[in-house]
Each structure stands twice: as C-alpha cells, then as structure tokens.
C-alpha cells in the first residue's frame, strides 16, 4: 500500500488503516474488512462449543496485549513519520492503530447502547400496553425519549459545519427547543436531584454519628473539628483566642493537621490498595484466569 501513501495529500495522514476517498485502494480495504468480518462471525457461529473458550481467551489476550504493548513500547521521536529502525516501525504502527482500536470500542459501545435503549423501551412499552401499575410514568418516559431524539437530531443538523458558530449567534426553532428541553428541564432536574444530597447528609449524619464506642468517639470528634473548620467566622474567633497561647492550638492548625497528616495518607493508602486490586483483576481478566468469578 506504499504507493497510496506516497500519492496522498498531507492531511489527513494516511496509513495502513485508511485510504483516500473514492479510490480503488480504499474500496479494496473495505471489502477485505467486510469479508474478514463476516468470515469471523460465521466461524464463531459454527465453532464447536468446546472451541468457544479458547477463541474467547485468544481474543481477550490479543486485545489486552495491544494495550500492554502500547503502554510499554518506546514512542517514536516528535515529528518522526518514516521509521528508521524496527522499534520506530512498531511505534509508528501502534500510533496509527490506536485510533482504529479506539473506534472498534466506540462502535461496539454504540451497538450496546442500542441494546440498552431496547431494554428501556421493552420494559416500559409492555407496562404501557398492559396498563400495569404506574403506566402513566412509562408513557411520559417514552414520550420524552421521542421528543428529545427529534429535537436533538434536528439541532445537530443545524450545527453541522459552520452552522455551530451561526447557531451561537442566532439560534433557530430547533435550537431553542433543544435548549428548553436540555438546559431548561433536564439540567434543572439534575440540579434538583443533586441538591437532595443536602437533606440526606443531614439525616444520615444525625442517625450515624453516635458515641457508641471509642472508635466512634474519635470519629465524631475529628468530624466536628473538620466541620467547624469550614465555618470561617468560628475559626477566626477560635484562632484569635488561641493565638496568644500557642499557634499549635489554633483550630485551623489542628484541622490542617487532621487533613494533611491523617486524612491524606489514609486516602493514599486506600488508593494504593484499590490500584493493586484493579491490577490483579486486570491481569486475571487478560489471561482469562477467572472462570466466571463467583458464579462458578
């Protein structure tokens, strides 16, 4: 395919994975891709059951291997487009392949989103048709999906190319409609849901912070110090009172010590544990060591 690359314009950069628009080379690549894809699908469908696990294991390993190599392989220097040795060749190939592999993942996710929407429509559609309990809410949900899709798509059409900047200056019917639905309703409902947390924090703290043991007493005392340290006016008063005695007795100093010397190292330690756990989980998934986890 080198002849394609040599004749190609500078932008967009051409490589093994793409081709110039409407050229025979690109069509050949598309056809090879389609044939390989169908062959793979048919092969998987007709593969004997005992072969399925080795196939899945191989695919998982290869997919993981790409990311491992991508992470570990040395990068080609800035501005290098033609490899001068094998290391640079692999580095450049990996660089070209990265957006393609990411696209694979994005396309797969898009299909999966379709399945997700199917789940929603199927559950709520059934409830609506059979007029089960709360069917009105299901109806509102489905109606909202349809309206949002229409306005979202129409808005997207008007923003194509130079439209985006024009819409910023003079929004049209579809743009205003989408803004009303998205900014005027969805965003505000999001904010309302978020603000519920204030109420829940109060009721949870009232219920949970009880002096039942030494540990809970320590927890409550430190929590009180940190909570008071957020109230600037109180800190100001207490600090002024403590200043003549000792700087170490200032509330801001004590709260700072709790944050810097107790809380931060604890968070780091927990994060180390979580990181190592994710690493172990990752290696088990990559090498297919898990056999369905706890489901046996």
């Amino acid at each position: 395919m080198n002849f394609l690359i040599a004749q190609a314009p500078a932008t967009p950069p051409l490589n093994f994975w793409n081709g110039d628009n409407a050229t025979a080379g690109l069509w050949i690549k598309i056809i090879i891709g389609l044939v390989l894809g169908f062959a793979l699908m048919i092969g998987l469908l007709f593969a004997p059951t005992r072969m399925r696990r080795p196939i899945v294991v191989t695919f998982t390993f290869l997919a993981g291997l790409f990311w491992m190599v991508q992470w570990l392989w040395p990068r080609a220097g800035e501005g290098v487009t033609e490899p001068t040795n094998a290391t640079e060749g692999v580095a450049l190939w990996l660089k070209d392949a990265l957006p393609v592999v990411t696209d694979f993942a994005n396309i797969l996710t898009a299909f999966l989103l379709g399945l997700g929407i199917y789940s929603l429509v199927s559950i709520h559609g059934k409830r609506l048709i059979k007029k089960q309990t709360d069917w009105v809410f299901s109806g509102i949900l489905l109606l909202s999906i349809v309206i949002m899709m229409i306005f979202g798509y129409a808005d997207w059409l008007t923003r194509l190319g130079e439209g985006a900047a024009k819409v910023e200056l003079v929004p049209g019917f579809w743009n205003r409609g989408r803004d009303l639905l998205f900014d005027g309703m969805l965003q505000q409902m999001d904010a309302a849901m978020f603000s519920l947390i204030a109420f829940f924090i109060l009721s949870a703290a009232y219920r949970a912070f009880r002096i039942r043991s030494i540990e809970s007493t320590i927890l409550l005392s430190t929590a009180l110090i940190v909570m008071i340290s957020i109230m600037g006016a109180i800190v100001f008063m207490l600090d002024s009172a403590a200043a003549p005695v000792s700087n170490n007795l200032k509330l801001s100093e004590i709260a700072g010590w709790i944050t810097g010397s107790l809380q931060t190292p604890a968070i780091r330690a927990i994060n180390f544990g979580v990181g190592v756990g994710a690493l172990a989980m990752g290696i088990r998934l990559w090498l297919s060591l898990d056999r369905g986890g706890v489901s046996g």
């Binding site: 797969l108 996710t109 999966l112 989103l113 379709g114 399945l115 997700g116 929407i117 789940s119 929603l120 199927s122 559950i123 059934k126 309990t133 709360d134 969805l186 409902m189 999001d190 849901m193 978020f194 519920l196 947390i197 829940f200 924090i201 009721s203 949870a204 703290a205 219920r207 949970a208 912070f209 968070i267 330690a269 927990i270 994060n271 180390f272 544990g273 979580v274 190592v276 756990g277 994710a278 690493l279 172990a280 989980m281 990752g282 290696i283 088990r284 998934l285 060591l289 898990d290 056999r291 369905g292 986890g293 706890v294 489901s295 046996g296």
Partner: protein, 292 residues
Amino acid sequence: MQWADTGWINILFVLVLITAMLTMILTNIKRSKASREGLYIRRIAGLNAIDEAIGRSTEMGKPVLMVPGIGGLNAISVQALNIFAYVTRTAARFANPIRLCCADAAVYTVAQEIISDVYNKEGLADRYDQDSVRFVSDRQFAFAAGVSGIILREQTAATFFLGEFFAESLIFAETANSIGAIQVASSTETTQTPFFIAACDYVLIGDEFYAASAYLSREPVLVGSLVGQDIGKILIAGYVLLGVAFNSAQQFERTTDPDTQTSRPLKSDERLMYMIFNPDPNRGKPKEEEEK
C-alpha cells in the same frame, strides 16, 4: 546529581514495582492451586452479611436490588458483577426476585449474560426474568432518580451498591434506608465511602471490594491473587519507606547555591526522590544559563 534527571530511572522504578507485583500475583495463584487446604484469608464482616440480607428479603418476599455503579465496563464493574453473580445464585435458589440496574449499556449487556448464565447453571432457567436486569439511564442523576423510584415502588428488602459511585451514592443509600432495606455497599471512590458508612449496614472499604469474590468463592485463582495483592501492597509500603528514608537523610545535606555560591541546605525539589520523578535537564544550572 544530574544522573537522576535522565527521565528513565523513574520508569525503571515503576516497572520494577509493577513487574514484582504481577509476579507475586501469578506465583501465589500457582501456589494456591497447588495447596490442598487453600491459602488463609481473613474474615470480612460485610461479605458475611450478604447471605443474611438475601435471607431477609426471601422472608419478606421482596426483591433484592443490585447496582454495579455508574462507571463503564472496566475491572471495577466486572468485579461488581462477579459478586452479583453470587448474590443472584443464592437468590435464585430461594426463588427470590432480583433487580439489577445499570447506568452503562456495555455493563448492562455483560450483566444480562452473567445473570442468565447463573440461572442456567443452577438449572433454574424458568425463574429468570429478562426484565430483572435493566438499563436505566446513562445520565448520573436520571439514573439516581430511576433507581430511587425502583427502591420505593418495589420496596426492595436488600440492596447491594458495589462499584464506582459518585454523588448519587447517598441518594441511593438514604432512599433504601428510609424503607428499612438491609444494605451492603462499597465504592472504589474514597470520597463516597463516608456516605455509605453513614447510611448503610455493611461497607467494604477500599480493596476489600476486590477481596470479595475470593472470599465468597474460595476459588484458588482468586485466593492466590488476593494473597499476591497483599504482598504487592507490602512492596509499595517498602517503596514508600525507602522514599521517606532518602528524604529524611537528605534533610541534613548541604549544597552550594549556583546563583549566590554560598552553602545552604537542599531545597525539597533538589532531593533525590523529587528529581527522579520530576526529571528536568536544566536543574542545578544558574538562572541566566537556564534562560538561554
């Protein structure tokens, strides 16, 4: 000390650590497979509560709710689904209804496969309700509202919130608490763990979440991996101690200031550990030379 500014020492530093950890994990998996009695792992209270929670919902005839967080398909959500497979298996044996709510389409698809697989393996395929695994929404607070609605409408008796949770954690936990559901929760996000501790009955903190599948199944691969993880953590602690030792020793070291040519103690960014992780070829040169 310019040799510390090469930029590759820090990579070597990290690579050695990760390779050592991976070796420990794989070696212990092998050791666990070879061992007859299995390796020892300590008791985790939150995981003992899983059976208790399912038992209670069976007594009440109410569904068990599971939420694998709002993150995408990654090690965290897969681990959550692994634990949910165990919960589902126990619930399926008692013919208890389940609800598994997903915020990510990819997680939803994998969850559907895992859950239907659990019912099939238990020989209870007829008890599997396709609508029990649901995609609710991929917007954070729409998902929070949807799941809270399910909790309140269906009066779930046991709830499991395991995975990547953010601001919605307290909304779920308090809503479930308001109807008296027994709750087991864990978030890999340290910022959300306090909210779960305040509102839930049992909380798995930090990497206890990753220990869960090993604890529940006692499968040699998982138990071995868990032991390997712990050795990995000891290695990290060793690295941290090494850093502390170097930094403490260098507190007493003095250097000649390149600008004033006078002797002074080392600044924090002139210490070995800082230099290894922040390579800068211009360091140590006088200001004028650096600006050129």
